[in-house]
Amino acid sequence: MQVAYWPGCVSRGFTPELHGSMAKVADRLGIELVELDRANCCGAGVIAEHNPELADTLNARTFAMAQKTGHMMMNICSTCQGAQSECQERLDADAGYRDHINEVLAAEGLHYEPGVTNKNFLWLLVEDFGLERLAGMVKRPLSGLRVGPFYGCYVLRPTTRLGYQEHPERDLYMERLIEALGADVVEYGGARKCCGFPVITMNRETSLGQAGRHIGDAIDEGADALVTPCPLCHLNLDLQQPDAAKVVGRDLGLPVLHLPQLIGLALGLEPKELGMSKHVVRTTGVERKLSAVATAA
């Protein structure tokens, strides 16, 4: 299986462990990542806030590059998924608008055809790779590990834009994946809420108040870790967690894994190879639990 791979900016910036773990996991799964290494930032909704046409053209450029590879496009960031789907909705809706934008892309020899398939790794795993197939590849079942899903807004809402008509259960995939890897799903209030990251520089209290509340709720439900397909959520949930604890006035200390890391652990990769030592909240609790399971087995 080959995919046109858009890693996004943050996975190569402040969460390098995501990019690294994705490469290792893709290798184990037999997914060949054809990286779009000349593609630009998706704009994260901020460029669309500034100038929608600018965001649409920048993402049409990325889509056109993906289409040139002949493979479907895959991303590893909920925010990229949401920002790109928003632009795609406008681009695919209106032929005149698309022509106008393609004129700009023509200078670089690119052309966007409507209907690009662009899927988050989570969606691709469930819809194209198959969870049964994944479960069959598990070398170290995560039995006994209690994991709370944290989706990130941009793969959830708005459903009309994010393919929920065709795939109405996309907001349940994280739970299914956690189960397929042998771990237990923790149900808690925050799984489908906002991490608060987009306003971290504008309203720190609101931002970290959201992150802190969700982490606290997951701890109260007995979670050993959270897992997220969004590196921006990871920044607020992990990098900022000590500050979030101060804002909500309670002890936190809950490890937060990137989606490929959780899968990597189940496929038998070591925490260090998956970059888990780079996390701000130490993942030793998760590792201890897994080695206890391995010893018992």
Binding site: V10, T201, S207, K278
Partner: protein, 365 residues
């Protein structure tokens, strides 16, 4: 007929007891609404169930409730659709969130929703003497406000707003969409004052986290978050309003970095968003320093990612796109043009309105 179970959250303040859940079985066709179900339970089983409703046709906005955890108009939600997302076969019906519950499914809209709507001065403030005859509003200006005018004040967006959940002072999606209705109205003479007020309120337009909840739950397609983004665009670009929340600076810094480098340089974004040369920016940066140092200590942030962010190969292509799009500043508003519509040859796909925050007028309003 089919049988459905409604699991209703009951709260009877006169009894002095905490809220509790009660199941009701109703016999109705699947195309009938959750409101029909509630009314049948009220009629046949327990007349004391409290629900506010009137038109039963998604026009009056009275019957906002949460169905299976999401704000909806009860009259606009089919039983068979609600059942699809019902755990263990029961459709869960609760009062809306972020507002105090008065009784069962009835929330106090005055305490939150209407108070916030009043906060934005929800009436026209025209400038100068009234014209001799009617005010004439150009078509493109009507298009700009049509979407926000569709609001029926059901409160669904405020119920599910994830910012409001942690910051009760946030003006909130409904009131901000209402604010745009007047900011976008050419007859209003207080556009700049309105925008300054909303941008400078620490719980105003820059308290929205972009979570799309309001867009998801609005039964009328108002897309309040999109209206908040329009308010931000107008405040920054038309009036150069530099708010205290770093919102304008953040947007400007982000956009400039991508123009220069093609991908995001996070360290520079943080620095430029906060503006270290301003006293409050320097302070905010100092506060962020321990976070950065933690990242360094764990090898998450490296000197290379923090200081030597590389320029994307072929950056001139990105810059060409900027040069082109920044000349237009247009927006294709799908609420107006509709989806999947191929454009008529005669009508331009993009029309630039006299105002900078142009809305495309490719189709019919």
């Amino acid at each position: 007929m089919a049988e459905y179970t409604l699991r209703i959250r009951r709260y009877e303040p006169e009894k002095g007891l905490p809220p509790y859940w009660q199941d009701y079985k109703v016999d109705l066709e699947g195309h009938r609404s959750v409101l029909d179900g509630i009314l049948q339970a009220k009629d046949r089983e327990d007349g004391s169930i409290g629900i506010r409703c009137s038109c039963q046709a998604a026009i009056c906005g009275s019957c906002g409730v949460r169905v299976n955890g999401q704000a909806k108009l009860a009259c606009n939600t089919k039983l068979r659709d609600a059942l699809k997302r019902a755990d263990d076969g029961a459709i869960v019906v609760e009062p809306m969130g972020n507002m105090p519950v008065l009784k069962d499914l009835i929330v106090n809209m005055d305490a939150v929703h209407w108070k916030k709507v009043q906060r934005v001065v929800p009436w026209l403030l025209p400038e100068g003497p009234p014209p001799e005859r009617e005010y004439v509003v150009p078509k493109e200006s009507m298009i700009d406000v049509t979407q926000s005018m569709a609001c029926i004040h059901c409160g669904a967006c405020n119920s599910d707003c994830l910012s409001l959940e942690v910051d009760p002072l946030f003006i909130g999606p409904a009131a901000l969409a209402k604010a745009y209705r007047f900011v976008g109205d050419p007859r209003d003479g207080q556009t700049e004052e309105r925008l300054r007020d909303l941008a400078e309120d620490a719980h105003g337009i820059y308290d929205c986290t972009h979570c799309f909840s309001c867009i998801e739950v609005c039964p009328k397609g108002v897309a309040p978050m999109d209206q908040i983004m329009r308010l931000r665009r107008k405040a920054v670009h038309d009036y150069g309003i530099n708010d205290q929340n770093n919102g304008a600076r953040h947007e400007g810094a982000f956009t400039k970095i991508i123009r220069k480098k093609g991908t995001l340089d996070e360290r520079k974004l943080l620095q430029d968003s906060l503006g270290p040369l301003r006293p409050q920016g320097g302070l905010a940066l100092l506060k962020a320093l321990p976070t950065g140092l933690r990242g360094f200590a764990r090898g998450k942030i490296t000197p290379k990612t923090a200081l030597l962010h590389e320029r994307l190969p072929g950056i001139e292509n990105v810059q060409r796109i900027y040069d082109h799009a920044e000349e237009h500043r247009t927006e294709l508003n799908l609420y107006i043009v509709g989806e999947g519509g191929e454009q008529d040859e005669q009508e331009p796909a993009i029309a630039e309105t006299p105002e900078a925050s142009a809305t495309t007028n490719g189709g019919q309003p």
